[in-house]
């Protein structure tokens, strides 16, 4: 993918297109002295990357006219020291003041850390605040939620993230392809296949090479197994947050069966480090197809009964229907992917809209709902499980013979590559540039959560505090993938 370097006018035009809804923002990241913006033309299914040359480390703010860019701009300032001129929110985002260094990826300096973080002000009678996290009550990732409530009802939720920030983009710079693929695989553990897949596609685009057909099919097989495992886990966990533990017990069994099949096929339960630039790390185990067929039969036997159970349990539906509604206009504005977008009518799935190998060869549907509530997000997952089962059946039936890997040589190559893959929670974007000496010069990873977290703040408004776990689980945003 070729970046287009734009003038101030070109940058302003792009912002205008975002603000008017003609384009969707896919990403905004720093690469001093440039700022890069990835845009999607949804009608044409085309992706473009723009580069703007900053003057004195400043660029015209995108967030001032297009709110989805706000957190990305704040993160860019923390990491690179690039300033969005005219930005309405200049508070730090990932830098919580503990790194001992400011702008670690720009011109690092050791200025004093920020003062106390100012949360947005709330005014009114009878309001109280509930601070939650970063250490949560369950086995979950770290993050801080600041609720302002009036009695039981949430008036405002404000998120404070960045606790899981590991400096992945700085570790990427100068890493070998192999090491960088490992980092990408550990950006968000639940989407390790989707990340490794996007990284491999981006690296292959930069190297102008392609994985062999068998590798493409095996990658898709892993990606669909990962989707199944996560959707089963979420389906049960959402019901569990409504105290319906029977569903959780049953879906946990299905999830475990998927992970065991993954281990039988690829030697790792989460299939970590199995997708690599050039193909896949190992061929499908000799009895892999049999293990997959047994898995499909088991799911097809058990899952319909669980769907029926969900559909026929009024006390459960009472908790999920009309809870945590995300408005369709917000989903469109933020270009929210995955079940969050599709449950509120945004008809986008990277596997279809930006069809990458081998999804261009398969028949599948992209389920869509309009209601935007917790229930709709549950049903999207249920329907996606059914589609994944169909996809897996097609993949194993048509699995091509041949090599599962081609050698890749990064030495002497200095190209750039961009790729999007559809993780279970939405599209992952990875952009990278090689330095010509066999290393990554710069790599940016953008999780779907960047455009979903802000919508959770809108979804909970007017709901009761006790329904927050349900809403949160129905989003299941990534902390690590977002914090990087």
């Amino acid at each position: 993918m070729k970046r287009s370097v734009v003038t101030a006018q070109g940058w302003a035009d792009a912002i205008a297109q975002l603000a008017s809804g003609q384009r969707t923002l896919l990403g905004l990241w720093g690469d001093p002295p440039h700022v890069h913006m990835a845009l999607l033309d949804e009608a044409k299914g085309a992706v473009a990357v723009l580069a703007y040359h900053c003057t004195d480390g400043k660029y015209p703010s995108v967030g001032v006219s297009h709110p989805p860019a706000l957190r990305l701009e704040r993160a860019m300032r923390d990491l690179f020291g690039l300033e969005a001129e005219g930005a309405p929110d200049t508070r730090p985002w990932l830098d919580l003041g503990f790194w001992g260094v400011r702008q670690p990826l720009g011109s690092p300096n050791t200025e004093r850390p920020h003062g106390a973080y100012p949360f947005l002000p709330v005014e009114g009678e009878s309001l109280h605040q509930i601070p939650v996290g970063p250490v949560h009550a369950g086995i979950i990732e770290p993050g801080h939620f600041r609720f302002t409530a009036n009695g039981e009802h949430v008036v405002r939720l404000e998120q404070r993230l960045g606790y899981a920030h590991k400096g992945i983009e700085s570790l990427m710079a100068g890493a070998s392809l192999e090491q960088a693929a490992k980092l990408a695989s550990r950006t968000s553990g639940d989407s390790t296949v989707a990340y490794a897949y996007a990284f491999a596609l981006a690296a292959e685009a930069a190297l102008q090479t392609e994985a062999p057909p068998r590798a493409a099919y095996l990658r898709a097989l892993m990606a669909e197994l990962e989707r199944l495992a996560n959707h089963f886990g979420d389906f049960g966990a959402i019901c569990n947050d409504a105290s319906f533990s029977l569903m959780h017990a049953q879906t946990s069994i299905l999830r475990e069966r998927v992970l065991r099949a993954a281990e039988a096929c690829f030697g790792h339960r989460l299939m970590m480090d199995q997708v690599v630039p050039g193909g896949v790390a190992r061929d499908l185990a000799p009895d892999g197809v049999a293990a997959i067929k047994t898995l499909l039969a088991e799911i097809e036997l058990r899952f319909p009964r669980l769907i029926e159970l969900y559909d026929n349990t009024a006390s459960l539906q009472d908790r999920t229907v009309t809870t945590g509604i995300v408005k369709a206009e917000y989903v469109r504005l933020f270009g929210a992917g995955g079940y969050v977008g599709r449950a509120s009518g945004r008809n986008f799935d990277a596997r279809r809209n930006l069809a990458y190998a081998p999804y261009d060869k398969f028949a599948f549907e992209v389920p869509l709902r309009e209601e935007g509530d917790v229930n709709a997000r549950v049903w999207i997952r249920i329907r996606e499980v059914e589609q994944s089962l169909k996809l897996i059946a097609q993949i194993v039936d048509a699995l091509p013979a041949g090599p599962f890997q081609v050698p890749v040589h990064a030495l002497g190559k200095s190209g750039e590559g961009l790729a999007l893959t559809e993780a279970f929670r939405g599209d992952v974007l990875i952009w990278l540039r090689l330095d010509g000496k066999g290393h990554i010069e710069r790599c940016h990873l953008r999780d779907a959560s960047w455009f979903q977290w802000p919508l959770l703040e809108t979804a909970i408004e007017g709901n009761i505090v006790a329904d927050f776990p349900l809403c949160n689980k129905s989003f299941n945003c990534s902390y690590s993938g977002h914090d990087l």
């Binding site: 086995i139 770290p142 899981a164 968000s188 017990a249 999830r255 339960r269």
Partner: protein, 171 residues
Amino acid sequence: MRRTLLESFTRGPLTEPPPKPDEAALAELAQSVDRAARARLGRSLSIRQVDAGSCNGCELEIHALGNAFYDLERFGLHFVASPRHADVLMVTGPVTKNMREALLRTFSATPDPKWVVAVGGCAADGGVFAGSYAVAGGVKDVVSVDLTIPGCPPNPRQLLAGLLALLQTAS
């Protein structure tokens, strides 16, 4: 619902026999668990999990310990919501600088006697994230660690073997 419930009586349990307590873990723990603590705890341990900046992979496998195949609670081991209720802190991830203070506070909120189990390669020494400006290191670089369960992520059987070693030593 009735069918699903009835079937769980007739189908037989999915729960598998436990793995043997991990030998290496037993040796590691022999030094850290004193007799007084053993007497007080009996055969039960409450675990508080702390994600100090992991990629979330370890959390997925820790979650799996609760499913029908591993059924952690049959051993008297259970996860609690507050460090004040915990005997064991199970810490994952490289400790990010942004989580360092939260981990220290969680540690000091946990009553004695207490043990810290570092779970996963990142918790052991920072893993692939070691050396970053944003990472303080492994768990041992922030709080004292009694047991390390390696793996990326460790699978539920490895987790169980480590925890059973802890239980055997502590009871």
